[in-house]
């Protein structure tokens, strides 16, 4: 469930804007095509987990690759999580600046997010998971309401023609959301602590399917209600959608309601990533507990979220063009590499020499 939450929340915000720009009304197919990326990632991670039950990534990467390269590997992963987190925080504050809190400066917003995320990370993964369980139904309910209301205003003809631009742009553009799906790679870190590792495979698949469904429905909604041409021009089409749904005089301004739950979802995702970064760094450097790292990382994170990306346009560019390959590299290529090396060197359970 955590995975579902983490992927859908931010994906919903940015992805539709990017894809619809390129592919117009076939955008909803794009999301369908990006799900295989998630499935592949899941497969690789499960295999790795089967080979090394109950050990975490730093430990078994050392086993597979040897001490130095293994540590290097883990540092790379820690950096990956760190950057991912930075991007998420930035996404969140961009959204906030645009939508409701336009007066507040970026630094204040970022620090607030980091403080909350730090507090959650401090409490540990179990707390994060439980908070997620609490928030997830609310999140789903609010979106179902949104879908329901949007149905009345949907104009289905806007979905046609289906294959206008041909299949190639669709595939090309599915790379962007694929990187979001690949965030399942966080399962790499979480697998040792999952209670029932056997069920993780089916649950992971479930997550991917539901996340795909969610994103697809979102894309569908945006296209049918706002229209393929306009949504490509907007930065946050879903926000515009929520604002434009008004019925009579009483159902108005529902965006406040939706915003509320959306934001809680994003917070949980940030907390999770923050926790992973700290946890991983602690394991790499051999600290006993990851609590001090949270405090050291916090200002770093705020600073990077505020200053590393100088403006929204650059941010959109990064998300659209540079992050997907970078993300996919870490999500698919590296675990694959790890798995292959493990197979070749016959390490872990399932291999013969240990």
């Amino acid at each position: 469930m955590l995975l579902f939450m983490s992927i859908t929340t931010t994906a919903i915000l940015f992805v539709p804007g990017i894809i619809v720009q390129k592919t117009g009304q076939s955008a909803w197919l794009v999301t369908l095509f990006s799900s295989p990326a998630g499935i592949i990632t899941l497969l690789i991670i499960m295999k790795l987990g089967q080979r090394f039950p109950r050990t975490s990534l730093p430990t078994y990467s050392e086993i597979i690759l040897g001490k130095v390269i293994g540590k290097f590997f883990c540092v790379a992963y820690a950096l990956f999580f760190f950057t991912a987190n930075t991007l998420i925080i930035r996404e969140c504050s961009e959204f906030l600046t645009y939508s409701l809190s336009s007066g507040t400066s970026m630094i204040v917003l970022n620090s607030a997010i980091v403080v909350v995320a730090g507090f959650g990370a401090f409490k540990g993964i179990e707390v994060i998971a439980r908070a997620n369980q609490f928030v997830l139904p609310l999140f789903i309910i609010s979106f179902v309401c949104l879908f329901g209301l949007a149905l009345f205003k949907a104009d289905y003809e806007r979905l046609l023609p289906l294959w206008e631009t041909g299949i190639q742009p669709i595939l090309l553009n599915s790379v962007a959301p694929a990187s979001f799906f690949g965030e399942i790679v966080i399962l790499l870190m979480l697998l040792p602590v999952v209670n029932k590792p056997r069920e993780a495979w089916s649950k992971g698949l479930w997550t991917i399917f539901t996340a795909t469904a969610f994103l697809t429905i979102c894309a569908l909604m945006i296209i049918t209600v706002i229209g393929p041409n306009l949504s490509g021009h907007l930065l946050f089409p879903l926000w515009n959608l929520a604002k434009s749904l008004e019925y009579g005089n009483y159902i108005q301004r529902i965006e406040g309601f939706i915003f509320f739950f959306w934001l809680t979802g994003i917070m949980i995702k940030t907390t999770l990533f923050y926790y992973l970064t700290c946890f991983m760094s602690a394991q790499i450097f051999g600290f006993k507990s990851y609590h001090p790292i949270i405090c050291y990382l916090a200002p770093l994170q705020v600073a990077s979220a505020t200053f590393l990306v100088s403006n929204t346009i650059q941010f959109q560019n990064i998300l659209g063009k540079y992050w997907p390959p970078f993300g996919l590299f870490f999500e698919i290529v590296l675990p694959l590499f790890l798995l292959l090396v493990a197979v070749i060197r016959k390490k872990g359970v399932g291999g013969s020499i240990r």
Binding site: S99, G103, L160, P161, W163, L230, N240, S244
Partner: protein, 392 residues
């Protein structure tokens, strides 16, 4: 030591109160703009944008009611002129005693010249505002928007509210126009396969016959071609557009017709339309089928019997058929496809669209459009036998 800590905390609390009251936009500090008017005028030989806004004056609950009914308006106007939109906004804001707030700007009125020449800039700026609502109504007027925005309606609602009501319900109820929201309009503007249109708003006097206008009427449409205003549709052509392009429900459109020098009225309560097309020799031909439902309350003295219904329906259908034909003719004259006919081709036959994509307007002009109307009479109102028998 404890006391020192207490004092420190108190200090922090006090400081925080300063912090709190400083930089936020409190409700009473807002200047709520309810209506926006954009013009393009010639001032001292230089073409400039002129922007007008109606700002809400907050009502005082403490004052007596009688004072408000006196005629002190609950809104006031501000305006500014400049060559660039951004400069206008800053000039406007200087004039305001409070922070402007656009979250309730439901009505945007654009002058004709503005719409003819500079629309994309205006729309872009409007939509970019964080508070802007996609559901705001856009309208065009033949003259200057400032004329509209300066009117003081004598009813109890504000001008913006009145226009909003008219766009949302009343215009389409009477079949003379319909409200187009900002989202819809932008979508049309950005579509490569259709043109946009906006309802037309004109000042009018509430008592018919008087010359001084004090109210507005939303009637007719302004037709756009690409991003420019090119023409107008009058009442009947507007009805034609509505019949073709919209599904009407729960409306009350009066369509008069005559039989034997007696004038009857067909009250249209709903209509549906279906657009089909066939491509022959690279030329599309459209077939539009309209089905309407209605009553005949004004029978001109005739008692309607069942066998008279069919010929009446035929008569009515013929009469109704005139409207869409008129608007299609106008569309071809303005060279703008605001019905979405070509969009239908794009959606259902994309390969053909690819061929004609570069010259779709010409194709539209040459296309045959056939309209078929099927009017149904559901009843004749509650009064089944007419009163006119008394006068005979």
């Amino acid at each position: 030591m404890k006391r020192k800590i207490m004092q420190f905390c108190l200090l922090i609390l006090l400081l925080s109160t300063f912090f709190i009251s400083g930089c936020k936009k409190e409700v009473e500090d807002l200047a709520v703009a309810t209506m926006f008017g954009g013009d393009y005028v010639n001032v001292n030989g230089v073409d400039q944008f002129q922007v007008w806004m109606r700002i809400m004056r907050p009502s005082d609950t403490g004052k007596q009611d009688s004072q408000q009914k006196d005629g002190t308006s609950s809104e006031y106007l501000i305006s500014a002129t400049s060559t660039s939109m951004m400069e206008i906004i800053s000039r406007l804001m200087i004039r305001l005693p409070k922070t402007p707030f656009y979250g309730h700007t439901y009505v945007h009125v654009y002058g004709a010249r503005n719409a003819q020449e500079n629309f994309p800039t205006q729309i872009g700026v409007s939509m970019n505002n964080a508070d802007a609502r996609g559901g705001a109504f856009l309208l065009v007027t033949k003259g200057l928007a400032s004329r509209i925005i300066q009117l003081q309606p004598s009813g109890t609602t504000t001008l913006a509210q009145q226009i909003k009501n008219q766009s949302e319900r009343i215009a389409i109820d009477k079949g003379v126009a319909c409200g187009i929201t900002m989202n819809e309009f932008s979508e049309w503007l950005l579509s490569p396969d259709r043109d946009a249109l906006l309802p037309e708003i004109e000042p009018i006097s509430s008592v018919e016959g008087e010359t001084v206008p004090d109210s507005v009427i939303v009637q007719g449409f302004g037709v756009f071609r690409e991003a420019r205003l090119v023409g107008w549709l009058d009442k009947e052509e507007a009805l034609g557009y509505l019949l073709i392009a919209r599904k009407l429900k729960d409306v009350h459109i009066a369509i008069p017709f005559t039989i034997n020098n007696k004038s009857l009225g067909y009250y249209l309560t709903g209509s549906k339309s279906k657009i089909n097309f066939t491509i022959t020799n690279g030329k599309p031909s459209f077939k539009i089928k309209i089905q309407t439902v209605g009553l005949i309350p004004e029978t001109g003295g005739l008692d309607i019997t069942p066998d008279q219904i069919k010929p009446l329906e035929k008569l009515i259908s013929d009469k109704i058929r005139e409207y869409p034909l008129k608007s299609i003719a106008k569309a071809k004259e303005y060279d703008s496809d605001f019905f979405g006919l070509m969009q239908k081709i794009h959606r259902y036959d994309p390969s053909f669209w690819q061929e004609i994509a570069s010259k779709w307007r010409d194709t539209f002009r040459q296309a045959d459009v056939e309209v078929e109307v099927e009017a149904k009479i559901v009843g004749s109102g509650v009064v089944s036998k007419s009163f006119n028998s008394l006068s005979e």
